[in-house]
C-alpha cells in the first residue's frame, strides 16, 4: 500500500509540474510577444479578467448568474431525461412488446447530433429556455433509456429463476433482482448522458442565448476579449470535470458492488 501511495504522490507532483510548466510557457509567449496580444491573453490577464467579472459582471450579468444559467439548464434537462428515460428503459427491458413499440424511435434519436434538431426546436418553441431544456432532455433521454433497457436485459436469468422459485412475486423480483442488477449499467448511461448534455448546453448557448457561460464565451469572441474567452473555457473545463466526478462519486457510493459481481 505504501508503495502505491508513494506512486500516487509522484504522479500528482508530476502532473502539477506539467501544468505549472504549461502555464509558465503560456505566460512567456505573451510576455515575449511571440504572438500578437489580441490573439492570446496571458494567464495574468485571464486572472485579472476573473477578478473584473467577479466585481463588475459581464455585460450586465454576474458570473454567478451565468454559471447558474448553464448548470441549471443542463441539470434540469438531464433530470427530466432521468425521470422519463429510466422508467421507460426499464419497462422496455421487461416487456418485449413495449420495446417493439417504442425502441425504434429511441434508436433513431440516439445517434442524431443534438444541434441538428435544435433548429427545429427553436422553430417550434421559440428561442427561450424551454427549447434549450428540451434539447438537453432529448440529448440525454435516448442514452439513459437505452442503458436502462440493456441493464435489465443483462441481469442473470438464474437469479430471476432463483428468486421466483423461492416464491418472489414479480414486484419483488423487480425491486430486489432486476433493478439492482440493472443499476450499474444505468449509471454508466447517466455518466455518458450528462457529458453529452453539458456539451450540448454550451453549443446551444453559443447559438442562441442571452446568458450562460457559452453565451459569455461567444459574446467575448465578438469583442475579441480573448481573456474572457479563455476564462470561460477554463471555467467550463472545471465544471465539466466537477459534473463527471460527481456522478462517479454517486456511482461508487451507490453501486459499491460494481466489479465484485
Amino acid at each position: 500500500m505504501a508503495k502505491k501511495k508513494e506512486l500516487d504522490i509522484r504522479a500528482t507532483l508530476l502532473g502539477l509540474l506539467a501544468v505549472g510548466v504549461g502555464v509558465l510557457a503560456w505566460q512567456m509567449i505573451g510576455t515575449l510577444g511571440l504572438v500578437p496580444k489580441a490573439l492570446l491573453a496571458t494567464p495574468a490577464e485571464v486572472w485579472a479578467a476573473l477578478i473584473e467579472i467577479l466585481h463588475e459582471g459581464y455585460r450586465g450579468t454576474t458570473l454567478f448568474e451565468n454559471i447558474a444559467a448553464t448548470l441549471g439548464r443542463c441539470i434540469l434537462g438531464f433530470l427530466a431525461a432521468v425521470a422519463l428515460g429510466v422508467p421507460l428503459g426499464l419497462w422496455m427491458g421487461i416487456s418485449k412488446m413495449t420495446e417493439a413499440s417504442l425502441n425504434f424511435m429511441v434508436q433513431f434519436l440516439r445517434p442524431l447530433p443534438p444541434l441538428s434538431y435544435l433548429v427545429l426546436l427553436i422553430l417550434w418553441f421559440g428561442i427561450g429556455d424551454f427549447s434549450k431544456i428540451m434539447l438537453l432532455f432529448l440529448t440525454a433521454f435516448p442514452t439513459i433509456a437505452t442503458a436502462s433497457m440493456a441493464g435489465v436485459r443483462q441481469v442473470n436469468r438464474k437469479r430471476i429463476d432463483a428468486a421466483r422459485s423461492l416464491g418472489a412475486n414479480s414486484r419483488q423480483i423487480f425491486h430486489h433482482v432486476l433493478l439492482p442488477g440493472a443499476l450499474p449499467m444505468i449509471f454508466t448511461g447517466l455518466r455518458i448522458a450528462i457529458a453529452a448534455a453539458f456539451s450540448s448546453v454550451v453549443a446551444a448557448e453559443l447559438m442562441a442565448a442571452s446568458n450562460g457561460l457559452g453565451w459569455m464565451v461567444f459574446s467575448a469572441s465578438r469583442n475579441m476579449r480573448t481573456d474572457i474567452i479563455l476564462l470561460g473555457i477554463i471555467l467550463l473545463g472545471i465544471f465539466g470535470m466537477v459534473l463527471s466526478r460527481t456522478l462517479v462519486a454517486i456511482d461508487t457510493h451507490m453501486i459499491h458492488w460494481r466489479g465484485y459481481d
Binding site: 506539467a18 422553430l123 467575448a220
Partner: protein, 253 residues
C-alpha cells in the same frame, strides 16, 4: 401479437398522427410539413442542390471534415495513450491536460480556434482533432493497462525483447479497447462537426439545416436531420465493420 406487429402498429400510428396534424390543418406547414412537401423538397434537393451546391457536395464536405479530424485525432491520441499506458511518467505529465480536455464542451474552444485560425477549414479540423484526441488517448491508455500481466511474463520468460512485447503482446491486446474508443470518438466528432457547421459554417450538411431554419424552410430542415441521422448511423456501422475485421477475436477470449 408478435413484437414485429407492435413495431408496425406503432410506426403506423406515428405516421397517421403526422398526416392528421398536417393535412387536417391543425399545425402550419411552417412547423411540420406534410409528407408530400417533404417529398417535393427531397426531389428539389436532389435535382437543384442547396444554395448553388449539390446535396452531394454538402455531404462530401461534412464527411471529409469528419474523416480528417477524426483520423488525425485518433492516430495522435492513440499514440499518446499507448505511451501513457506504457510509461507511468508520461502518463503523470499528460493526464491533467487530457482530463481537462475530455469533459470540456467542444464548442467552447471553437470560438478561440476561429480567432486563431480563421473561420475556414483549419479551425474546424483542429476542433475535431481536439474532440477525438482525449477520447482516443484514454481508451488506448486503459487498453494498455488492462493487458494481462501473465501474457507479458510468459513472453518475457520466453526471451522476448521490450519491442517484441510491445508489438506482439501489448498493442494487439489493447486494440479492442482502442476500437471501442474510436467508436466513441467518432460519435463525438460527428456531433461536434454538425454543431460547428451550424454555428460557424458556410457549407456542409449542418450548415444547410441552419440556413434552411433561418428561412423557415422546415421541409429542408427535416430532410437535413434525416440525412444527418443516416450519415451518423452509416459512419458508426463502418467503424464497427472495420473493428470486427481487425479485432476479430474480441469477446472470444
Amino acid at each position: 401479437m408478435r413484437p414485429r406487429t407492435a413495431t408496425a402498429i406503432s410506426a403506423a400510428v406515428l405516421v397517421a398522427g403526422w398526416l392528421l396534424l398536417t393535412l387536417g390543418g391543425f399545425v402550419s406547414d411552417l412547423f411540420l410539413p406534410p409528407p408530400s412537401q417533404l417529398w417535393d423538397a427531397l426531389v428539389d434537393l436532389w435535382q437543384e442542390g442547396y444554395k448553388n451546391r449539390s446535396i452531394w457536395e454538402h455531404i462530401g464536405q461534412s464527411l471529409i471534415r469528419v474523416l480528417v479530424g477524426f483520423g488525425t485525432g485518433a492516430i495522435v491520441g492513440t499514440a499518446m495513450g499507448l505511451l501513457m499506458g506504457y510509461f507511468k511518467t508520461i502518463d503523470s505529465l499528460f493526464a491533467p491536460f487530457i482530463e481537462f480536455l475530455r469533459p470540456l464542451p467542444q464548442l467552447a474552444y471553437l470560438v478561440i480556434l476561429i480567432i486563431w485560425l480563421g473561420i475556414d477549414e483549419a479551425s474546424k479540423i483542429t476542433l475535431l482533432f481536439l474532440a477525438a484526441l482525449p477520447v482516443a488517448a484514454v481508451a488506448a491508455r486503459d487498453g494498455v493497462r488492462n493487458v494481462s500481466q501473465i501474457r507479458i511474463r510468459v513472453a518475457q520468460s520466453l526471451g522476448a525483447k521490450r519491442s517484441h512485447i510491445f508489438f506482439y503482446i501489448v498493442f494487439p491486446s489493447a486494440l479492442a479497447e482502442i476500437f471501442t474508443g474510436a467508436r466513441l470518438a467518432i460519435g463525438i466528432v460527428y456531433a461536434t462537426l454538425i454543431a460547428s457547421e451550424i454555428i460557424a459554417g458556410t457549407n456542409g450538411i449542418g450548415w444547410m439545416i441552419f440556413d434552411a431554419g433561418r428561412f423557415l424552410r422546415s421541409d429542408f430542415v427535416f430532410i437535413g436531420i434525416i440525412i444527418v441521422g443516416i450519415m451518423g448511423i452509416a459512419i458508426d456501422r463502418l467503424i464497427l465493420m472495420v473493428e470486427t475485421r481487425v479485432v476479430h477475436w474480441a469477446g472470444k477470449q
